[in-house]
């Protein structure tokens, strides 16, 4: 893929399989893992980890496999290593509920502590984890400015140039050749960006849902997560669920 220009901006393939694109004037790379890489500040941003979602269901008697936190943290660790990030920003709803931290296995807590070694960890709070972690390292913030970008959990209504948020768990559905593919995706109009959920058990909300109404100036580009590659898809190609 060579450089391509759309009305909403310019994007190129990044060697990591991701899509490099300028958002509100800031260089970004949307990685196939669903993490956002900001090369200038060597910052990695991931949204909606929903750690301990499995055990939250188990409390209520539905015994989902208890491996989701380890899975999510393992992928985060791999992304951190691959990018050499100096800052890791967790963009809210990092924990599925207020008691998640207490339920978490010791080894998963260790994994988070080692992430914080040699780099800074920033916990932006979300609606599921409005207090942030109690005993884990890192700074707890409501939102954070980074160059031309403002990082927060829940997107504000209306156009918000420069805002990078999560919360909505965007996903895209493509129909064709007798089948449909549904994948998590980034959603952006070049001015603001919504990150896909990074957590293993986090579900998705179709970007054609009315929850996205009014957030973008032009129909957003969906950068769908594939195996080792992120695929930019035009909004018009996408289907409803």
């Amino acid at each position: 893929m060579s450089a391509a220009t759309l009305k909403l901006g310019r994007f190129t393939a990044s060697p990591c399989g991701g899509v490099a694109m300028s958002i509100h004037g800031q260089e970004t790379v949307m990685r196939p893992s669903g993490a956002l890489w900001l090369p200038e500040t060597r910052t990695l941003v991931v949204a909606d980890l929903h750690l301990e979602k499995g055990s939250a269901f188990a409390v209520r008697g539905q015994l989902l496999p208890p491996y989701d936190s380890a899975e999510t943290l393992g992928r985060l660790e791999a992304e951190t290593r691959a990018t050499g990030a100096r800052v890791v920003v967790l963009l809210g709803d990092s924990f599925h509920d207020a008691r998640s931290e207490a339920r978490m296995a010791a080894s998963d807590g260790e994994a988070i502590r080692s992430l914080a070694v040699g780099r800074s960890l920033v916990w932006i709070v979300g609606n599921h984890d409005s207090e942030g972690p109690r005993s884990l390292p890192g700074d707890i913030l409501d939102e954070m400015d980074l160059g031309a970008l403002r990082l927060r959990h829940e997107p504000f209504a209306g156009l918000q140039p420069g805002e990078v948020a999560g919360h909505l768990h965007p996903c895209a559905r493509l129909v064709g050749r007798g089948r449909a593919v549904r994948r998590r995706c980034f959603a952006t109009d070049g001015q603001r960006l919504i990150l896909p959920a990074f957590g293993a058990y986090a579900g998705g909300l179709n970007i054609r849902d009315r929850a996205y109404t009014g957030l973008f100036e032009t129909p957003p580009l969906a950068i769908a997560l594939g195996q080792g590659r992120a695929h930019p898809l035009a909004f018009g190609m996408l289907g409803d669920d």
Binding site: A58, G61, L63, L64, Y67, D68, G178, G204
Partner: protein
């Protein structure tokens, strides 16, 4: 049969009743009474129309009239289980006739998912003498605290249509419930009612309550099935079957029999009521549409298939019962069901696929024992002509498809164990022995039992973090019991072995796009390949899809449009091994060709001239080049599922051999693979070696979407995922994504987990037919007949015509994303 019993005389009241109706009791009815008098379990095998249901109930009606008066209320005497709700209700109605006419003091009532709460409550407090219900309701009874007392007087359980239910997960659930009932009422007698089958002993073994001491190895113990007395009804006259060759022509390819519609219509005009069976819902919609296009006489032709709304199906059934319809186009939804006396012709549109199912379908015509049923086969292509002839021959010989072996599923076992723990606390050893008296679980290993109990309790994870969330807990007395009432309630909401796929309502789009009148319901998959703006046929009309919301598909009528046809996947039923062997034999014998239609004979002759005709045990393999591609076509005749699996595995191999396979296509008879490099010099016996079913299969299966689908089913049946939560109905669509995510995580972290084992078993048997591929690879060892060609052979033409209409599996999803992205980029660059 060794029990040549003297016909037990009927009580006077019963004899008089038979006389008043102008009947005399049939020998199998009397033999069923004799079996009951000597306390034997019994399996009755009889064709439809033989008074089978009455034969099943007669012993109970007699016993109930002979019982001494009681001072205290009594429990249920006879439990009748039907696979269909409608059948249970219909049998209730039919049973009331002799009860009323003889003035018997017997209460018979049905209980299904549709029965009202008040009636259900009353049935628990004052049990009827005869209760007619479904396997799911019985499973619910088994998960009830009062079950043991409620059933302690139970004397007889009758399982109707047992041939249709035993080799399935519903059959597993039912057999476990029977084991439970046998513990509550040790003297319980089991009675099975079955259509004609190839090997009744398989069902006898399923029905039998098993050895008394199952934990002890008894390798040479007498066949447990012998504990069930076999009673055969009169065979009835052989059906009269014709094969329709429309206009004397048979098309090369296709599955719709489009060419034959005018001839089929003429046949309908000459009959009172016809059932037109097809093999898929799409075919049903298509045939219905085509027949109405030429319905100049305005015949009342209706449509019946599983994707239609239930109330719509009930309407068709009611109209049929009133004798108002001339024809119904239907799928397997009408294979079983209530009797309609007036059907005088059964039409099978497109290939029969198996002899047993065919007999069952033909039996829907003319429910009178003394007259032959009449049927018409309509082949859609040339291979199907052979298949229709093979089926006709099999039926004339009274030969049936052998039943594959069936082993009880562990996800169903998990559901049952949870139910047991809710009903009363259990001792693991005692429960283990009880479970092994159920046919499908006869060989259950203690280790597997322990694994399932652990799964039910804490999820069965190697990482033991859920011990504090156990759903069933073991007390100091060693007994397992359910954790709390809430857990019990949640289980009861999710009982059953029927997996209903996510369903969307089809509704007219109102103004401003809100949902309007409901037209019907479809399974989600039915619409998956359509995009808004596309047209499709449904419920006999042409509609344009406007959009899909969480629960509705909104449409507008588009009567003038040519509907976009969904991909014609041929039959969902695989050609039976038995019928396939017959087709191969017919094909290999030129003496037989004389009786075939002219163009089919010519097709075979040219095949012989241009390529080869394989012997009955051989597999023909052709190689040729066409355009820039090299083709390999082989003809195993093992059904589309097995062929697709084989093609996937061969493609992996060819890839390793650096042949550069590009794609494949498979149908019921053959498969074709095409590549960049020629394949005629390959070592074919090595290519088709059985070791293909080793690592390649494992690796491919774990990646495949079939595994995800199978896993979802197992997760629901075992109770890992709940279908319904108290107070909040969860739609199937919401379940979809979460089971996929769970599957991915579980596969990486605990690949040997119970549910992944279950999913692998299900996928290997139901979705990719691994056993069939294995048998086939054994069969063709040293029997591959290679025919290198310079051009396409007549046999290969149907397959070549299907190329392009088929998608290639494997990485299709990724490719689709990449192509869509490239399209966008191309657009952006211009």
């Amino acid at each position: 049969m060794t029990f040549a019993a003297p016909a037990a005389p009927l009580p006077d009241r019963f004899n008089a009743w038979f006389e008043s109706r102008g009947w005399s009791p049939r020998s199998h009815q009397l033999e069923m009474v004799a079996a009951a008098r000597s306390g034997q379990h019994a399996l009755l095998i009889a064709p439809t129309g033989g008074g089978k249901t009455l034969a099943g109930f007669l012993p109970s009606l007699i016993a109930l009239t002979e019982r001494p008066p009681a001072n205290t209320p009594r429990g249920i005497h006879t439990l009748y289980i039907s696979p269909l709700k409608a059948l249970a209700v219909d049998v209730e109605r039919n049973l009331m006739i002799p009860i009323a006419e003889m003035g018997l003091d017997i209460v018979a009532e049905s209980r299904t998912g549709d029965t009202g709460v008040a009636r259900k409550q009353r049935q628990k407090l004052r049990p009827p003498d005869i209760l007619l219900t479904t396997p799911e309701q019985l499973a619910l009874f088994c998960a009830w605290e009062g079950a043991r007392q409620y059933f302690e007087d139970l004397s007889c359980v009758i399982i109707d249509e047992v041939h249709a239910i035993w080799p399935s997960k519903r059959g597993d659930l039912l057999s476990l419930a029977l084991a439970r009932l046998q513990v509550f009422a040790p003297g319980l007698r089991r009675v099975g009612l079955s259509a004609t089958v190839e090997d009744p002993d398989v069902i006898r073994r399923w029905l039998s309550p098993g050895p008394p001491s199952p934990a002890i190895e008894t390798p040479s113990s007498p066949d447990r099935g012998l504990a069930v007395r076999l009673v055969r009804g009169p065979p009835g006259p052989l059906p009269q079957i014709d094969v329709l060759i429309a206009d004397g022509r048979v098309p090369w390819a296709g599955h719709t029999a489009h060419h034959a519609m005018p001839d089929v219509y003429e046949v309908l005009k000459r009959h009172k009521t016809s059932l037109i069976f097809v093999n898929t819902r799409f075919q049903a919609e298509f045939a219905f549409q085509e027949l109405w296009k030429i319905n100049d006489d305005g015949l009342a032709i209706a449509l019946h298939h599983g994707s239609l709304a239930a109330e719509q199906r009930r309407k068709v059934e009611a109209a049929m019962a009133r004798g108002e319809l001339r024809a119904v186009v239907c799928t397997s939804t009408l294979d079983l069901g209530i009797d309609w006396g007036d059907v005088d012709l059964v039409i099978q549109l497109a290939a029969p696929k198996g002899a047993s199912r065919m007999v069952q379908r033909i039996g829907r015509a003319n429910h009178r024992l003394d007259e032959p049923s009449r049927a018409l086969f309509v082949p859609a292509n040339r291979f199907e002509v052979l298949e229709c002839e093979a089926a006709r021959e099999a039926i004339a010989e009274n030969a049936f498809d052998p039943e594959p072996a069936h082993v009880g599923a562990l996800d169903i076992l998990a559901q049952h164990i949870m139910g047991c723990a809710i009903s009363e606390s259990f001792d693991p050893l005692a429960l283990f022995e009880e479970l092994r008296t159920a046919g499908p679980y006869h060989d259950l290993a203690w280790e597997d039992f322990e694994t399932v109990v652990e799964f039910v309790s804490s999820g069965g994870y190697a990482l033991r973090t859920y011990d504090r969330f156990r759903r069933i807990v073991r007390g100091p007395d060693g007994q397992w019991r359910v954790r709390d009432a809430q857990t019990a309630l949640r289980h009861r909401m999710n009982v059953g072995a029927i997996l209903s796929p996510a369903v969307l309502s089809i509704r007219l789009a109102g103004r401003k796009g809100q949902p309007g009148r409901k037209i019907g319901e479809v399974e989600e998959g039915y619409l998956e390949m359509l995009e808004p703006g596309d047209t499709f046929i449904f419920a006999g009309g042409v509609w344009r899809l406007q959009g899909v919301t969480a629960t509705d598909a909104l449409v507008t009528p588009a009567p003038a449009d040519d509907p976009k046809l969904p991909s014609w996947g041929g039959s969902k039923f695989a050609l039976s091994t038995f019928l396939a062997a017959k087709v191969r034999r017919m094909m290999s014998d030129p003496a037989y060709w004389r009786d075939l239609p002219g163009d089919v004979r010519e097709w075979l002759e040219i095949q012989q001239l241009r390529s080869r005709i394989p012997g009955p045990d051989q597999m023909l393999l052709e190689t040729f080049n066409r355009g820039k591609r090299c083709f390999l076509v082989c003809y195993p005749f093992e059904g589309r599922l097995a062929h697709t699996t084989l093609a996937m595995l061969l493609t992996r191999r060819l890839d390793r051999l650096k042949v550069g396979p590009l794609g494949f296509v498979a149908n019921d008879y053959a498969l074709a693979i095409w590549s960049l490099k020629p394949m005629e010099d390959l070592d074919f016996s090595a290519l088709f070696d059985q070791d293909m079913l080793g690592d390649d299969l494992e690796a491919w299966l774990d990646e495949s979407f079939m595994m995800k689908r199978a896993f979802k089913g197992c997760a629901l049946l075992s109770g890992l995922i709940e279908r319904r939560m108290p107070g909040s109905e969860k739609s199937g669509r919401q379940v979809t994504f979460s089971t996929d995510l769970i599957f991915d995580v579980l596969r990486r972290h605990q690949p040997d987990h119970l549910l992944l084992r279950c999913a692998r078993t299900d996928a290997a048997s139901g979705m990719i037919d691994v056993a069939r591929v294995g048998q086939m690879l054994t069969r063709i060892r040293g029997q591959i007949l290679h025919s290198p060609l310079t051009q396409v052979s007549p046999f290969a033409v149907p397959l070549m015509l299907e190329i392009g209409r088929e998608r290639v599996g494997g990485e299709a999803a990724e490719m689709m994303l990449a192509e869509a992205a490239d399209e966008l980029i191309a657009e952006a660059m211009t």
